[in-house]
Protein backbone atom coordinates (compact mmCIF):
# COMPACT_ATOMS: atom_id res chain seq x y z
CA UNK A 1 0.00 0.00 0.00
CA UNK A 2 1.11 3.55 -0.64
CA UNK A 3 3.02 5.29 2.13
CA UNK A 4 1.15 7.80 4.27
CA UNK A 5 2.68 11.16 3.39
CA UNK A 6 2.61 14.42 5.30
CA UNK A 7 0.04 15.63 2.77
CA UNK A 8 -2.26 12.64 3.40
CA UNK A 9 -1.93 13.02 7.13
CA UNK A 10 -2.67 16.73 7.04
CA UNK A 11 -5.78 16.11 4.90
CA UNK A 12 -6.88 13.36 7.28
CA UNK A 13 -6.45 15.44 10.44
CA UNK A 14 -8.03 18.54 8.90
CA UNK A 15 -11.00 16.70 7.40
CA UNK A 16 -11.84 14.64 10.47
CA UNK A 17 -11.43 17.50 12.94
CA UNK A 18 -13.32 20.01 10.85
CA UNK A 19 -16.15 17.57 10.12
CA UNK A 20 -16.77 16.91 13.80
CA UNK A 21 -16.41 20.58 14.78
CA UNK A 22 -18.98 21.50 12.12
CA UNK A 23 -21.41 19.08 13.79
CA UNK A 24 -20.67 20.21 17.35
CA UNK A 25 -24.13 21.71 17.85
CA UNK A 26 -25.80 18.54 16.66
CA UNK A 27 -23.67 16.38 18.99
CA UNK A 28 -24.43 18.63 21.92
CA UNK A 29 -28.16 18.49 21.14
CA UNK A 30 -28.06 14.67 21.00
CA UNK A 31 -26.21 14.64 24.32
CA UNK A 32 -28.63 17.13 25.88
CA UNK A 33 -31.45 14.68 25.14
CA UNK A 34 -29.95 11.73 27.02
CA UNK A 35 -26.77 12.92 28.74
CA UNK A 36 -25.16 16.03 30.14
CA UNK A 37 -25.22 18.05 26.93
CA UNK A 38 -21.51 18.68 26.52
CA UNK A 39 -20.36 16.18 23.89
CA UNK A 40 -20.21 18.63 20.97
CA UNK A 41 -18.48 21.39 22.86
CA UNK A 42 -16.04 18.90 24.41
CA UNK A 43 -15.14 17.35 21.06
CA UNK A 44 -14.77 20.82 19.59
CA UNK A 45 -12.36 21.86 22.35
CA UNK A 46 -10.24 18.75 21.83
CA UNK A 47 -10.19 18.89 18.05
CA UNK A 48 -9.45 22.62 17.94
CA UNK A 49 -6.38 21.85 20.06
CA UNK A 50 -5.44 19.19 17.50
CA UNK A 51 -5.88 21.64 14.58
CA UNK A 52 -3.77 24.23 16.42
CA UNK A 53 -0.86 21.77 16.23
CA UNK A 54 -1.54 20.38 12.75
CA UNK A 55 1.87 21.37 11.33
CA UNK A 56 3.75 19.44 13.98
CA UNK A 57 1.34 16.49 13.91
CA UNK A 58 1.30 16.07 10.10
CA UNK A 59 5.12 16.03 10.04
CA UNK A 60 5.23 12.92 12.24
CA UNK A 61 5.05 9.31 11.05
CA UNK A 62 1.43 8.04 11.17
CA UNK A 63 1.79 6.02 14.41
CA UNK A 64 3.45 8.89 16.29
CA UNK A 65 0.87 11.35 15.01
CA UNK A 66 -1.98 9.14 16.23
CA UNK A 67 -0.42 8.78 19.67
CA UNK A 68 0.10 12.54 19.92
CA UNK A 69 -3.46 13.31 18.78
CA UNK A 70 -4.81 10.80 21.29
CA UNK A 71 -2.93 12.48 24.12
CA UNK A 72 -4.22 15.93 23.08
CA UNK A 73 -7.79 14.59 23.17
CA UNK A 74 -7.20 13.04 26.61
CA UNK A 75 -5.88 16.34 27.95
CA UNK A 76 -8.34 18.73 26.33
CA UNK A 77 -11.79 17.14 25.98
CA UNK A 78 -12.72 17.21 29.66
CA UNK A 79 -15.34 14.45 29.57
CA UNK A 80 -15.36 10.66 29.29
CA UNK A 81 -15.02 10.94 25.51
CA UNK A 82 -11.47 12.27 26.07
CA UNK A 83 -10.04 9.05 27.49
CA UNK A 84 -12.25 6.95 25.18
CA UNK A 85 -11.21 8.59 21.89
CA UNK A 86 -7.71 9.11 23.30
CA UNK A 87 -7.39 5.40 24.05
CA UNK A 88 -8.71 4.51 20.58
CA UNK A 89 -6.13 6.68 18.83
CA UNK A 90 -3.20 5.94 21.14
CA UNK A 91 -3.79 2.21 20.73
CA UNK A 92 -4.03 2.58 16.95
CA UNK A 93 -0.74 4.50 17.07
CA UNK A 94 0.93 1.75 19.08
CA UNK A 95 -0.33 -1.03 16.80
CA UNK A 96 -0.05 0.46 13.29
CA UNK A 97 3.03 0.33 11.05
CA UNK A 98 4.06 3.55 9.24
CA UNK A 99 2.32 2.50 6.00
CA UNK A 100 -0.42 0.03 6.86
CA UNK A 101 -2.31 -2.15 4.37
CA UNK A 102 -5.91 -3.18 5.01
CA UNK A 103 -4.99 -6.24 7.05
CA UNK A 104 -2.65 -4.26 9.30
CA UNK A 105 -5.31 -1.58 9.73
CA UNK A 106 -7.92 -4.20 10.65
CA UNK A 107 -5.60 -5.79 13.23
CA UNK A 108 -4.70 -2.45 14.80
CA UNK A 109 -8.31 -1.24 14.77
CA UNK A 110 -9.37 -4.49 16.44
CA UNK A 111 -6.88 -3.86 19.25
CA UNK A 112 -8.08 -0.27 19.54
CA UNK A 113 -11.74 -1.31 19.82
CA UNK A 114 -10.77 -3.79 22.55
CA UNK A 115 -8.93 -1.02 24.39
CA UNK A 116 -12.01 1.23 24.22
CA UNK A 117 -14.13 -1.60 25.66
CA UNK A 118 -11.69 -1.93 28.55
CA UNK A 119 -11.44 1.83 29.15
CA UNK A 120 -15.22 2.27 29.14
CA UNK A 121 -15.92 -1.08 30.87
CA UNK A 122 -18.50 -1.59 28.15
CA UNK A 123 -19.51 -3.90 25.35
CA UNK A 124 -21.47 -3.74 22.11
CA UNK A 125 -25.20 -3.14 22.66
CA UNK A 126 -24.94 -0.63 25.54
CA UNK A 127 -25.76 2.32 23.23
CA UNK A 128 -22.26 3.75 22.96
CA UNK A 129 -19.58 4.51 20.38
CA UNK A 130 -18.77 0.78 20.41
CA UNK A 131 -22.03 0.17 18.55
CA UNK A 132 -20.45 1.97 15.58
CA UNK A 133 -16.81 0.97 16.02
CA UNK A 134 -17.43 -2.79 16.29
CA UNK A 135 -19.55 -3.17 13.10
CA UNK A 136 -17.09 -1.01 11.16
CA UNK A 137 -14.28 -3.25 12.40
CA UNK A 138 -16.16 -6.24 10.96
CA UNK A 139 -16.51 -4.46 7.61
CA UNK A 140 -12.80 -3.69 7.66
CA UNK A 141 -11.89 -7.28 8.55
CA UNK A 142 -14.03 -8.65 5.73
CA UNK A 143 -12.35 -6.36 3.17
CA UNK A 144 -13.47 -6.38 -0.48
CA UNK A 145 -14.24 -3.72 -3.09
CA UNK A 146 -15.35 -0.17 -2.32
CA UNK A 147 -14.29 -0.57 1.28
CA UNK A 148 -14.45 3.15 2.19
CA UNK A 149 -17.99 3.46 0.83
CA UNK A 150 -19.14 0.36 2.69
CA UNK A 151 -17.42 1.38 5.92
CA UNK A 152 -19.10 4.80 5.74
CA UNK A 153 -22.50 3.23 5.11
CA UNK A 154 -21.97 0.75 7.93
CA UNK A 155 -21.02 3.55 10.34
CA UNK A 156 -24.09 5.63 9.47
CA UNK A 157 -26.41 2.64 9.66
CA UNK A 158 -24.93 1.57 12.99
CA UNK A 159 -25.26 5.05 14.51
CA UNK A 160 -28.91 5.12 13.43
CA UNK A 161 -29.37 1.68 14.98
CA UNK A 162 -28.55 3.12 18.42
CA UNK A 163 -31.85 5.09 18.36
CA UNK A 164 -34.07 2.23 19.60
CA UNK A 165 -31.43 0.94 22.03
CA UNK A 166 -31.66 1.37 25.80
CA UNK A 167 -28.47 2.77 27.30
CA UNK A 168 -26.79 0.58 29.91
CA UNK A 169 -23.48 2.46 30.15
CA UNK A 170 -22.62 6.15 30.51
CA UNK A 171 -24.73 9.03 31.73
CA UNK A 172 -27.63 8.04 29.44
CA UNK A 173 -28.04 4.81 31.42
CA UNK A 174 -29.42 6.91 34.32
CA UNK A 175 -32.49 7.50 32.15
CA UNK A 176 -33.28 3.82 31.68
CA UNK A 177 -36.11 3.38 29.18
CA UNK A 178 -36.20 7.11 28.53
CA UNK A 179 -32.88 6.77 26.68
CA UNK A 180 -34.79 4.87 23.98
CA UNK A 181 -35.66 6.92 20.89
CA UNK A 182 -32.50 9.06 20.72
CA UNK A 183 -29.29 8.49 18.77
CA UNK A 184 -26.26 8.03 21.00
CA UNK A 185 -24.01 11.10 20.66
CA UNK A 186 -20.79 9.05 20.88
CA UNK A 187 -22.04 6.71 18.16
CA UNK A 188 -22.79 9.77 16.03
CA UNK A 189 -19.37 11.37 16.55
CA UNK A 190 -17.70 8.05 15.74
CA UNK A 191 -19.73 7.75 12.53
CA UNK A 192 -18.80 11.32 11.58
CA UNK A 193 -15.11 10.58 12.02
CA UNK A 194 -15.28 7.33 10.09
CA UNK A 195 -17.16 9.02 7.23
CA UNK A 196 -14.53 11.76 7.10
CA UNK A 197 -11.69 9.19 7.04
CA UNK A 198 -13.45 7.28 4.24
CA UNK A 199 -13.85 10.52 2.26
CA UNK A 200 -10.10 11.16 2.49
CA UNK A 201 -9.33 7.55 1.49
CA UNK A 202 -11.51 8.07 -1.58
CA UNK A 203 -9.49 11.17 -2.44
CA UNK A 204 -12.08 13.67 -1.30
CA UNK A 205 -10.85 16.16 1.26
CA UNK A 206 -14.03 18.19 1.51
CA UNK A 207 -14.83 19.03 5.10
Amino acid sequence: MMPVTELHLRALIDTVATRVIRHADQLTALDAAIGDGDHGINMQRGLEAVLADIDGLAAKPLPDALKAIGLILVMKIGGASGPLYGTLLMTLGRELPDSPDRAALATAFGAAVQAVKARGKSEVGAKTMLDVLAPVLQTLEAGGDDLPARARAQADESAAATVPMKATRGRASFLGDRSIGHMDPGARSSALMIAAICDVLEGRTSR
Binding site: D38, V74, G78, G79, R119, R171
Partner: protein, 128 residues
Protein backbone atom coordinates in the same frame (compact mmCIF):
# COMPACT_ATOMS: atom_id res chain seq x y z
CA UNK B 1 3.68 10.62 56.18
CA UNK B 2 0.13 9.32 55.64
CA UNK B 3 -1.71 8.14 52.52
CA UNK B 4 -2.78 11.10 50.36
CA UNK B 5 -6.38 11.82 49.30
CA UNK B 6 -7.47 13.34 46.00
CA UNK B 7 -11.05 14.45 45.30
CA UNK B 8 -12.16 14.53 41.65
CA UNK B 9 -15.59 15.97 40.91
CA UNK B 10 -17.26 17.35 37.78
CA UNK B 11 -17.86 20.47 39.84
CA UNK B 12 -15.11 22.58 41.41
CA UNK B 13 -17.59 23.64 44.10
CA UNK B 14 -18.27 20.04 45.13
CA UNK B 15 -14.58 19.15 45.11
CA UNK B 16 -13.63 22.21 47.16
CA UNK B 17 -16.50 21.71 49.61
CA UNK B 18 -15.66 18.05 50.06
CA UNK B 19 -12.03 18.97 50.71
CA UNK B 20 -13.22 21.49 53.35
CA UNK B 21 -15.14 18.72 55.11
CA UNK B 22 -12.09 16.45 55.02
CA UNK B 23 -9.86 19.18 56.46
CA UNK B 24 -12.34 19.71 59.29
CA UNK B 25 -11.89 16.03 60.25
CA UNK B 26 -8.16 15.50 59.76
CA UNK B 27 -6.54 18.95 59.70
CA UNK B 28 -3.17 18.86 57.99
CA UNK B 29 -2.37 15.26 58.90
CA UNK B 30 -3.23 13.97 55.44
CA UNK B 31 -1.90 15.22 52.10
CA UNK B 32 -5.05 16.42 50.33
CA UNK B 33 -5.80 17.88 46.90
CA UNK B 34 -8.92 18.37 44.81
CA UNK B 35 -9.87 19.22 41.27
CA UNK B 36 -13.16 19.82 39.51
CA UNK B 37 -14.29 21.14 36.17
CA UNK B 38 -13.22 20.76 32.54
CA UNK B 39 -10.18 22.57 31.05
CA UNK B 40 -12.31 25.70 30.55
CA UNK B 41 -13.73 25.74 34.07
CA UNK B 42 -17.17 24.36 33.15
CA UNK B 43 -18.60 21.12 34.55
CA UNK B 44 -16.42 18.13 33.69
CA UNK B 45 -13.10 16.57 34.60
CA UNK B 46 -9.63 17.23 33.36
CA UNK B 47 -6.78 14.72 33.18
CA UNK B 48 -4.12 17.41 33.49
CA UNK B 49 -5.73 18.75 36.67
CA UNK B 50 -6.06 15.21 38.09
CA UNK B 51 -2.35 14.58 37.47
CA UNK B 52 -1.51 17.86 39.22
CA UNK B 53 -3.72 16.98 42.19
CA UNK B 54 -2.10 13.53 42.53
CA UNK B 55 1.28 15.25 42.54
CA UNK B 56 0.15 17.74 45.20
CA UNK B 57 -1.20 15.01 47.48
CA UNK B 58 1.69 12.64 46.78
CA UNK B 59 2.77 10.30 49.55
CA UNK B 60 5.15 7.37 49.33
CA UNK B 61 2.40 5.32 51.04
CA UNK B 62 0.17 6.04 48.05
CA UNK B 63 -2.79 8.19 47.05
CA UNK B 64 -6.49 7.30 47.16
CA UNK B 65 -8.83 9.00 44.68
CA UNK B 66 -12.51 9.69 45.38
CA UNK B 67 -14.51 10.46 42.23
CA UNK B 68 -18.10 11.30 41.36
CA UNK B 69 -19.76 10.36 38.05
CA UNK B 70 -18.49 8.21 35.14
CA UNK B 71 -16.26 10.70 33.36
CA UNK B 72 -14.45 11.48 36.60
CA UNK B 73 -13.65 7.79 36.98
CA UNK B 74 -12.62 7.30 33.33
CA UNK B 75 -10.44 10.42 33.37
CA UNK B 76 -8.90 9.37 36.70
CA UNK B 77 -8.05 5.92 35.33
CA UNK B 78 -6.48 7.60 32.31
CA UNK B 79 -4.47 9.91 34.56
CA UNK B 80 -3.19 6.96 36.61
CA UNK B 81 -2.01 5.25 33.41
CA UNK B 82 -0.09 8.38 32.44
CA UNK B 83 1.81 8.48 35.76
CA UNK B 84 5.50 7.55 35.84
CA UNK B 85 6.06 3.80 36.39
CA UNK B 86 7.27 4.21 39.97
CA UNK B 87 4.06 6.01 40.97
CA UNK B 88 1.40 4.19 38.95
CA UNK B 89 1.05 1.23 41.29
CA UNK B 90 0.55 3.46 44.32
CA UNK B 91 -2.59 5.28 43.19
CA UNK B 92 -6.05 3.76 43.46
CA UNK B 93 -9.65 4.82 42.89
CA UNK B 94 -12.07 4.08 45.76
CA UNK B 95 -15.45 2.74 44.70
CA UNK B 96 -17.32 4.91 47.21
CA UNK B 97 -19.61 7.96 47.33
CA UNK B 98 -17.41 11.02 46.95
CA UNK B 99 -18.22 13.02 50.10
CA UNK B 100 -18.68 10.21 52.61
CA UNK B 101 -15.86 8.22 51.00
CA UNK B 102 -13.41 11.12 51.16
CA UNK B 103 -14.13 11.87 54.81
CA UNK B 104 -13.88 8.22 55.85
CA UNK B 105 -10.79 7.52 53.73
CA UNK B 106 -9.01 10.59 55.10
CA UNK B 107 -9.92 9.72 58.69
CA UNK B 108 -8.53 6.23 58.18
CA UNK B 109 -5.43 7.65 56.48
CA UNK B 110 -4.81 10.10 59.33
CA UNK B 111 -4.22 7.15 61.67
CA UNK B 112 -1.37 5.91 59.49
CA UNK B 113 -3.34 3.20 57.68
CA UNK B 114 -2.03 1.54 54.50
CA UNK B 115 -3.46 2.38 51.09
CA UNK B 116 -5.39 -0.92 51.04
CA UNK B 117 -6.94 -0.21 54.42
CA UNK B 118 -7.89 3.31 53.37
CA UNK B 119 -9.64 1.91 50.31
CA UNK B 120 -11.35 -0.86 52.26
CA UNK B 121 -12.72 1.63 54.78
CA UNK B 122 -14.05 3.96 52.09
CA UNK B 123 -15.57 1.08 50.14
CA UNK B 124 -17.48 -0.26 53.14
CA UNK B 125 -19.95 2.45 52.18
CA UNK B 126 -20.62 0.94 48.77
CA UNK B 127 -23.51 -1.43 48.16
CA UNK B 128 -21.91 -4.72 47.13
Amino acid sequence: MNVGIVIVSHSADIARGTADMVRQMVGDNVPLAWCGGNPEGGLGTNVEAILKAIDLAWSELGVALLVDLGGAETNSEMAIELLPDERRGKVIICNAPIVEGAVLAATEASGGASLDDVRRTAEELSPS
